[in-house]
Amino acid sequence: MTAFYDNRLTENFHQEAIALDTNVLSSLFLDKMYWEDFMNIFSANQLLIDPIVKLEFLRGAFRVNAYEEQSKFLTSHRFTSMADNHDIQTKIYEHVFNVARIYSHQGNPSIPLGDIFIIARLAVYDQSVLFLTRDYGDFDTMLFDRKAIVSIERKLRNKLGPPEIVEHIQILQFNHEKYQVCLDTLPK
C-alpha cells in the first residue's frame, strides 16, 4: 500500500495534536496496512479522539456484533482522549449555536449534528489542534484553513466493489478569525 503526501507540509505540523474524524477512524479500523501507513505519517502527532467521534464510531457496532472490538480499538496506545468535563462542555455549548447558525446562513443547514459539535469543540481550542477528515462537504475553508492533503491507498476485501480505493484526507486548522468574520455577518 502507498501513501502520497508532501513531506514539507507534514513537517510543518510535525508535533501538533490531531483530532480524527469518524471516517478516518473507520478506515483505520478496517485495514492493517492502512493503519501502518497512517501511523508512519503521523508518528510524532498526538491522535485525538473527540467524545462525539467515539459515539459515532460505536453506535453502529451492534449491527456488526463488534462493540467489544470497537471499544478496545479505541483504547489503542496511539490514541488520546479529549477532555470532556463540565467546563469544556459549557464552552462547546457557547459555540454550538453559533456554528449551527453560520452553516445555516451559508447554505448548509443540513450539516449533521455530530459535525456541529466537532466543529464547536475545535473552536474551543487554540490553533495547536488540527483536524483530519475525508468529508469535504461539511468541513471546508469557510471556518478552516486547509493545511495539506494526504492520500492513502486502501485495498478492499469486499468483492462487490472495486479492488482498491484512494482516500484523500484533508488536514484542517480551525481559523478563529474566519469564525469571527462569519459571526459578524450573521443577521442580528
Binding site: K32, W35, V64, N65, T80, S81, M82, N158, E177
Partner: protein, 53 residues
C-alpha cells in the same frame, strides 16, 4: 476617531489523557476479526461507515 480593535477569541490550550494501552498487535487482531465478520454479512446489513471494507 480611532476605531476599536476587535478582540478575536483564540481558544484555550487543550487537555488530553491517554486513551489506553492496547498494542498495535492487538489492534491488528481486532481488524482481522472484524474483517471476518464483515465478509460473512449481507451487504445491506453492513453499516454505512464499514461498507467499503
Amino acid at each position: 476617531m480611532k476605531k476599536d480593535k476587535k478582540t478575536i477569541y483564540k481558544g484555550i490550550k487543550p487537555e488530553f489523557t491517554p486513551a489506553g494501552k492496547t498494542t498495535d498487535e492487538e489492534v491488528f487482531k481486532i481488524i482481522e476479526s472484524v474483517q471476518r465478520k464483515l465478509s460473512k454479512m449481507k451487504p445491506e446489513d453492513i453499516p454505512e461507515m464499514f461498507k467499503q471494507f
